[in-house]
Symmetry: D2
Subunit: 342 residues, 4 copies
């Protein structure tokens, strides 16, 4: 089968690599030729690339399959541009990190032209080339079914994890790592929640490791204290110098918190045991926010996911004004002066 | 009636002032003479002071009433020292910010000597001299009853707030601003929870004002964004330049969030509209932590109080290690580099 | 000055009462005549009412001032209807609980007709008639200035609170209880954040009182425990039977947490000490959600406000599915059975 | 090597099985004989068991290795009892879920007798027999080193997970699934934080799945609403019927949130897609609370772990009083009546 890919960066390029390696062919489009040439050199004839959008569309067999894999902010304009060149029955896929609201709208906009719109949330990051990508898919049943051979090649496959007890017979698509989640937007919706969970789980590890990191607190803080500091009632309880990198390693085998995120954390801590190469300003790329928005809209309590998101905001200094308000209040009612900066 | 006061700092001195002004007499003890001389000059003969603990005890009428008003860390030693000089029937009061666990223990220790132990949580801060102090009291009924004339003078009195609808007849002590909450430790327990609530309410204001402070976000952040930043979907919703000091002022009259904390906030923002005199490192003095400990012990959900406490920790940089862990994870699975420091 | 009021329920009726009592006149409109008749009987000639919208508009002096005070869901349609009957220079006020997004849109829609749109967030609840209403106002400067005499009558006035230290001279509008916060939507934006803070502060009290309520935990839970329950390490720390209604009363005078919300809580607990008349399903009316949405959009950490909102969701059973997931996980990895329902 | 095991329940029995299968011998003690007989039948001569503690001790080679694997509440008494029968140089292991405070104290108490105390936090649950147990160990270096052959047999071994990139040469103990974390208590300290993280990660999944579960909210809630309910601004965004069991399955392969907890969740949801066999009352067994206590003591922000813990408390109805307070406040200031029970 043939795939057209717009955007040949890390994600788009690796998806192309997976399908070509699995026997399919691909046509790539990008404004600049560097990635095109690299893929051509690597994949040979089963890949062709072009910097001309019309050429790209012309090179595709009908019904065309056009996967757009570019930053979310640019996706709308590119889809509109390519849709002008497509015909009824063609399929456009947004595989990036768009908000699912946009999918719902775009699917409606393309429907009168007979163009099918499919949204695919893609997880796997820089490891996707080898591990395969987990695919969460939204759209009408027919075009999604049409894509099945490609999806199977991109996804990790059933062997990527032990089979869930109780599941027998032919593996479902979910067991192979791709799932048709519902109509337009459902793929990005599920991917969005996936990332919301990711933020929460990451924060759970980070908070716990911070507690281990501070387990030597009683060695430096004895029972003395100023009026502005809370005394440590039992300094003898905090006299551990925990080797945090080794702890993350030991938890990888046999423990309840074993996970791929923990694997990565153990690797990162092995490479940089004190995390000196990081400053602690943590970005968020939207999905965590949108997950919270969805929780709020539907009345679902999500205190853990919210705390994780707000922790990222705070890491970037966004609590500063609020903290100043607190200091101002404390000074006003109690005459408390702030502690000096450490 | 006569009160013995150990510790003549801001809090102890103002309590002495209130009772002497109300017709009682006081004997003060402190190691240095400066505060003693100041109070003597101000209050005249109804106040005597000494830097000799034996003289202090000798000057008190029996049953002696000894109020200890010094930093929590020093209270235990001073109570032990003065208790050596006291007689059965005397009353020792811890009016500071001790943890109530210490009250339970100390009351047990003093019981064999026939000395009554009373713990009094005191709220009112630097305004207590004029407004009166809110008193939360723990101890046996008899000694607490014995203290009633003094407590009445220290507390704000019924006129400090409109009477609660439905309350008629002789005002209860609670309506006058002092309350016997239960046996030893109950006073500091209630004061502890009071401060826990205080942290939560303060944080509610601080977070809300921070949102107002950022209401101009859409003026500086249009719809563009990098892959590491979340776009603002509707910049037109965030084009307000809110005058935060004026907002705190308007809320003081007629709104649901009117409070004494808001009064103080409005004053602080009037004096320093941009809070330039504050750095945002917020201390905590123990009660917020102990309130959380109590919630955890008794299985009571306290997410708001916890968030308020943890916000203070974070304001002092204590999230840094956790934030670095998050950055390390993001780099590991997604190749994301951190945003540069602003 | 004259005010036209659409909606004569509790809020609209009380605003009419305040302005008429202060010397202004009012024209009221409502579909049914009951409230009209009641106000007429009470206020006499300075109030006229009608169930006919055209009559209502005709009775107003130009430039007309039309205050719409109806549930947020119906406001849009009514404003559209009345706007058809208005002329350039007239002023429409939305005094309800609309989302500020709607204000921004409506102001744009009415601008071509020359009709001024003003949004007023109103706080004060059932006590506003006597205490006055706190008014947060958005709109263009001229129409807002035109409304000044009415706003002054509706607001509580400067005497409603002690003057903030450092403020001298003629009181500002904020000191009288009303504030022009910015362009269209700014009034409802500030009111929204006000309610967000309200949720947070309410939850702070509620959590703290719950801890007091459980302070007798050690009397019923000694050190024994099952494998599914956490033992209480120090039952002797939780042997207090706290009189929660009296605690709320004592905090009203002299304490740092004194507030109007606390006044109301003390009254409610005096009337119903065990809160037997309540079931604990807590509604939220939108502002708390929208405050969170604004925090998320602008990257402001709001963990306390979020926890307060999510607590309300949970009170209505919305955590149930998540809790079942947790139970399923615990059973899966540890063989833990759920505790039976109490 | 030989191991003495006190407590032959699920955990103790499976540890015995693992070491005997790996070539060691074991002596078991339990008050009742059922488990002893079962293990004897299964393991043959390399296992002996007794219901007599003196016989148990007598059957052990010196230096004796006595692993106590019983509920935390009973551990202290049993260790005291067996210690009376031991000799200098013997080793007592607490492998249960004791609080690490107890380890610090017990190690001190046994030191004068020359008995070594080792605490081992054990993770692995019901799957430990096959997967191996993750072991977190506290104690003096010599006795821990002496135990090495046994620990190696109990732990999962290096093949249980892919080797962390950058780790070469002879695998460290951590890579084999056991780690000497520090002096007495360090094992249970690390296990405690492990469980705190577990609570947080579990809650992250549970909240996210709840959002997926409610993704059909717009199908039942259109834009209408009462004054006590928040309208859904965009019902068209919530029209998905997500197959939550299939989503957990698809995430197992290639996604960032793949984990052992997710594997278990997918299995649980496959077996009971609507979780009908669960009521949603979630226990906590202490470690989550103690993790929070440690965070509070050392000033580490742990909002995610706290939210997870408090969610469990709330699932058991412990928010009820607080929720009633909120309802009472809402009624007091706004005249709001509670929503009826669903």
């Amino acid at each position: 089968m043939q795939l057209g890919m717009i955007g040949l960066g890390r994600m788009g390029g690796n998806i192309v690599r997976r399908i070509v390696r699995d026997g399919h062919t691909a046509v790539g489009y990008e404004r600049k030729s560097a990635n095109i040439e690299e893929l051509r050199a690597e994949l040979g004839e089963r890949f062709q690339g072009t910097t001309d959008l019309r050429e790209f569309v012309a090179a595709l067999e009908t019904p065309r399959v056009v996967w757009v894999m570019i930053p979310a902010g640019a996706t709308g304009a590119v889809i509109a541009e390519v849709a002008e060149l497509l015909e009824p029955g063609d399929i456009v896929i947004d595989g990036g990190n768009s908000r699912y609201h946009d999918d719902i709208r775009r699917a409606e906009e393309l429907k009168p032209k007979g163009i099918h719109y499919v949204d695919i949330g893609t997880s796997g990051g820089v490891f996707g080339l080898d591990r395969g990508f987990c695919l969460m898919i939204g759209g009408e049943p027919e075009p999604v079914a049409h894509l099945d051979p490609l999806l199977k090649s991109i996804a990790p496959g059933v062997d990527a994890a032990p089979r869930t007890p109780g599941r027998t017979g032919e593996p479902t698509p979910a067991e192979q790592g791709y799932l048709h989640c519902g109509p337009a937007g459902a793929g990005h919706f599920v991917k969005m929640v996936h990332n919301g969970i990711e933020y929460g789980a990451m924060a759970a590890y980070a908070e716990g490791l911070n507690i281990l990191h501070k387990a030597d607190y009683g060695l430096s803080h004895s029972g003395e204290f100023s009026a502005e500091e809370t005394p440590l009632e039992h300094p003898e309880h905090y006299r551990y110098r925990i080797d945090v990198p080794e702890v993350t390693e030991v938890w990888r085998r046999g423990s309840v918190v074993a996970s791929w995120l923990l694997d990565l954390t153990a690797a990162a801590l092995h490479a940089d045991p004190n995390l000196d190469s990081f400053g602690g300003r943590v970005s968020d790329s939207g999905e965590g926010r949108w997950t919270l928005d969805a929780a709020i809209d539907t009345g679902v309590p999500a205190p853990v996911l919210a705390a994780a998101l707000f922790g990222r905001f705070s890491s970037r200094g966004e609590s500063l004004y609020a903290d100043k308000v607190l200091s101002a209040m404390r000074k006003a009612f109690g005459g408390h002066n702030e502690l000096p900066r450490a």
